[in-house]
Amino acid sequence: MLFNSIDFAVFLPLVFFLYWFVFQKHLKAQNALIVIASYTFYGWWDWRFLSLILFSSIVDYTVGLQLQKTDIPKKRKFLLWVSIVINIGFLGFFKYFDFFVDNFVNAFSFFGYQIPSTSLNIILPVGISFYTFQTLSYTIDVYKKELKPTKDFVVFSAFVSFFPQLVAGPIERATNLLPQFYKQRQFNYKNAVLGLRQILWGLFKKIVIADNCSVIANEIFNNSTSFGGTSLVLGAVMFAFQIYGDFSGYSDIAIGTSRLFGFNLMKNFAFPYFSRDVAEFWRRWHISLSTWFRDYLYIPLGGSKGGVLMKVRNTFIIFIISGFWHGANWTFIVWGFLNALYFLPLLLRNKNRVHTGDIAENSLLPTFKELRGMMLTFSLTILAWIFFRAENISHAIQYISDLFTGLIDYTNYLETYNLLRDFGPALIVVFIIFILVEWSGRHTEFAINRLTNNRFLNIFFYYLILFLIFIYSGKPQEFIYFQF
């Protein structure tokens, strides 16, 4: 089920009603309702893959309980590996099997050996990378004795399949989300209003910004050889805003929906395009994944505490695996590699934590230095996004080399102007207003977290956003991160 669909518009109020009016006084019933609603939500896409979530839940639930029963290190390690092998095994099979087989076949054919390809054209279950990481974090935390395992299977199932964040995160930690299922939830008016506001902003980012940027980005990326340099720059910028609107929009809807049910999820985006360096960008982009890798991979590998070689090794490992997590394509690996290259100089010079606060902390506008850093970071990010969006490596290289062609050719600019004209002047104005609203809300959790004190002005603003969503809505488009 898509957040931006009629189905969800019916589903959400229905579950909300049952949750607060029918099962309000029964915590266990509320949790059971969450599980049923979550399985319905997921099964709407393809009910067959519910068995994967159920199986994954059973495995980690059982492993968790077994871990509690024993203190023998060997046995505990064995149990941990059972969970890792099963979870990563599923992920590897569904997501990476064809990739490895194809590359294996290509490698052999390069040396003159022809072996038949046995690609299975496997369907990738939506959200598998997200809920796999979530269940893994539970087992690892229990293994590290940072968390007591739950004995309530319904609670555990609710934690694994919680529908707002099931298919595209935020990837929740058991230490944050699991305890919330034990507590009696009380309806909180302010929290609910905040949730609705965040949902509204998320829908705006998805439907108005991302879906409309995707039209131009797709047009340019799919026919990149027929466009000049300036149009290719436009295509890359459009993709940058598409992926931001799409993914952060999803996270806003997920977090907002959770608030309606009395849950607090972790923040996943913190205005990443206002970052002044790449290290800051990675503290603000897909925070739940970055911190997951930091806590469960980077730090166990030694983090940044060892020598230079260790730092370099760990940085490349974490970024390349993070890239590969996004998809079974060399483009994602190069995307990760590039980000490691961007990040490494900052780490080696101990400048990776220079910008820990917000940009323009006490002023309306950034300083020249901040602006320069922001522009440079945005440009580097866009360059990496080209690999992320391209069909394959050669497409990305071709795209980048074409970026610098025809920059002094007048017809190129005319072509870019025509593309923007197709985008529509009204939409360009909306786009600029979107950036200004994001800028003005950069110190808060999401851009319209705090509005004015004038109630009527706020209501007018809500109607305006709804109207823009309505005007610019087309065919509901899937969220990009569903494919990961």
Binding site: Y189, A192, Y462, I471
Partner: protein
């Protein structure tokens, strides 16, 4: 909680009022249309109805038949909708026969599952048929880009309505155009008509249901497979064609009230008879209807 719900209700009221008015406006702007027109045709009595997709809509001229008949075919109309039309007709009328178009997409596609699924709303909104309860197919404003919808509603309010479609008085809608590029169209059309096994089974079952109705209500069924241009025929897999033909042949041989007129490979229709690779133009429709009519006149069954 009550306070929250009250606020939500008050916030939503203007939205629902707006959407309701907008929906009424869009429906009004969309009237009259070929669906409402055909629905109205059912109010009178006829001896025959023509059912099918655009191949019948463009290719069978109910106006040229020697019997009183109407054409209830429509673009991308799948056989399950033909059945609904037939059931609706049988509620008020006693038919002598049904001309049922059965071409490749009749055999292989289902409107709601096709790229043309949005047309489903036209049946729900403008005819007495009811296809499903999916909100998307029961509201005008949930279809199309809103900027287009607003333009359409605006034109309606300003009185700049689009001109009425040129469908004929008995519901046929032939087009007097000629094609220059059959090959490209054939490629797209054949891809659109590519089969899914589940639809073939479903469509065969619906055909059987139509035949059962023909026995119950005592009418004959003339199945017509219209001519197709060579460029299109070439791209239809042999297996699909032979399965479809053997099904229809089998049905004809086992039912004495069923006739099958197969013009799919008929060479008497040259390129000038086609609007595109799989649709007849006005000239082709005249010729094809004439052949059907001759069959109806010469067959003893229909002369009484």
């Amino acid at each position: 909680m009550k306070f929250f719900l009250n606020k939500i209700v008050f916030f939503l009221i203007p939205i629902f009022v707006f959407l309701g008015s907008y929906e009424i406006l869009l429906r009004s702007a969309n009237m009259p249309n070929i669906y409402s027109f055909k629905d109205k045709l059912l109010d009178e009595e006829y001896e025959a109805i023509v059912l099918g997709n655009s191949h019948a809509l463009r290719g069978v001229l109910a106006e040229d038949l020697s019997y009183s008949a109407i054409n209830l075919a429509n673009v991308s109309q799948s056989i399950n909708i033909d059945l609904l039309w037939l059931k609706a007709t049988l509620k008020t009328q006693k038919l002598k026969f049904v001309i049922l178009n059965f071409s490749v997409p009749t055999y292989t596609t289902n409107l709601v599952k096709s790229s043309e699924h949005w047309r489903s709303k036209n049946y729900n909104l403008y005819t007495r048929l009811h296809l499903n309860y999916n909100p998307k197919y029961n509201f005008e404003f949930l279809n199309n880009l809103q900027l287009k919808n607003i333009k359409r509603a605006g034109n309606y309010v300003l009185g700049n309505n689009k001109s009425k479609d040129n469908y004929l008085e008995k519901g046929s809608y032939p087009l007097d155009v000629y094609s220059n590029d059959f090959e490209e169209h054939a490629l797209k059309a054949s891809q659109r008509h590519l089969p899914k096994v589940e639809y073939i089974e479903q469509n065969e079952n619906v055909l059987m249901e139509i035949l059962t109705l023909s026995k119950t209500y005592n009418f004959d069924v003339v199945i017509v497979t219209p001519p197709a241009h060579a460029s299109y025929r070439r791209l239809i897999p042999h297996e699909i064609k032979s399965n479809m033909f053997s099904l229809l042949k089998n049905i004809e041989s086992k039912n004495n009230n069923v006739y099958w007129l197969n013009y799919f490979d008929n060479v008497s229709f040259d390129s000038k008879c086609f609007k595109d690779s799989d649709h007849l133009n006005f000239k082709g429709a005249k010729l094809f209807t004439n052949k059907i009519n001759n069959f109806l006149i010469n067959s003893n069954t229909f002369t009484n």
